[in-house]
């Protein structure tokens, strides 16, 4: 499986994306998925439109992207986090 580029974004690129970034890193390792994680501000997503496979974000985005967008708030509150992880895994397995 080719290496996947995952954007992890929040409003400031400071706090919540740091936590989500680490959670995905751990998850990828656990499932033996090779990922290239890029932690950015949501405003910077546009520069990665051509290279990314997935966007995981705690910020709201109304823009349409050519890759799936997954809301990562659950990583912070713990509520429904297993579902979110499943969603991310599915997205990583499906994208080419």
């Amino acid at each position: 499986m080719a290496k996947k580029t995952v954007l992890v974004a929040c409003g400031a690129g400071i706090a919540t994306s740091t936590v989500v970034n680490s959670a995905i890193e751990e998850m990828a390792k656990e499932h033996n998925i090779d990922v290239n994680l890029i932690q950015i501000k949501i405003a910077e997503v546009g520069s990665y439109v051509d290279s990314a496979d997935l966007l995981v974000t705690t910020a709201m985005t109304k823009t349409e992207y050519p890759f799936p967008v997954i809301n990562a708030r659950n990583f912070l509150t713990g509520i429904g986090v297993e579902d979110t992880k499943k969603q991310i895994l599915e997205a990583l397995k499906n994208s080419n």
């Binding site: 409003g11 400071i14 708030r73 509520i79």
Partner: protein, 162 residues
């Protein structure tokens, strides 16, 4: 990276305000008065909250984690505020849905992508209904300080810096 300031001076109880703007300003103003952040921090926090909301519904008390860019910060700190009345915050990642927040952790970080362990421990607290409930009921700042120091492992963190 400097040490994280965390003591009674950044713990606020019974914070008044009918809107999120008022309570955020009150909490941020205290940090400005203490010299921990620049004057610009206040408007930056308000602007960021309106663009990227930070309200988080939990299993118990809803919390908010307002924060903004590092250039407004002099000294890293986490300010904890218990509100007199819950105030509606827009939920993180949503555009209009709100949650009644009673506990605010205002993060003043002086370096991007830092403090991972601390942030992870903070998020753990959001999943700990008992601790959240204890925090909003507590009337003694030192007790809040001690509880959070323990939960966030701050004493060990400080020890490591020496």
């Amino acid at each position: 990276m400097g040490n994280l300031v965390f003591d009674e001076s950044v713990i606020l109880l019974n914070v008044k305000g009918e809107t999120k703007e008022t309570v955020l300003e009150n909490i941020a103003r205290n940090l400005v008065d203490k010299g921990l952040v620049k004057e610009s921090f206040i408007s930056a926090i308000l602007k960021r909250e309106s663009e990227f909301a930070t309200g988080l519904p939990t299993a118990g008390v809803s919390v908010a984690i307002p924060h903004t860019d590092v250039e407004h910060v002099n000294q890293a700190t986490i300010s904890v505020a218990v509100l007199e009345h819950p105030v509606n915050f827009v939920i993180m990642g949503d555009d209009s849905e709100t949650t009644p927040v009673q506990l605010i952790f205002m993060l003043a970080m002086d370096e991007a992508h830092s403090q991972l362990t601390l942030l992870q421990k903070l998020m753990k607290i959001f999943q700990d209904e008992q601790t959240l409930s204890a925090l909003v009921k507590e009337t003694n700042k030192s007790n809040i300080k001690n509880l959070l120091e323990e939960k966030l492992d701050l004493r060990a963190f400080e020890g490591g810096e020496r």
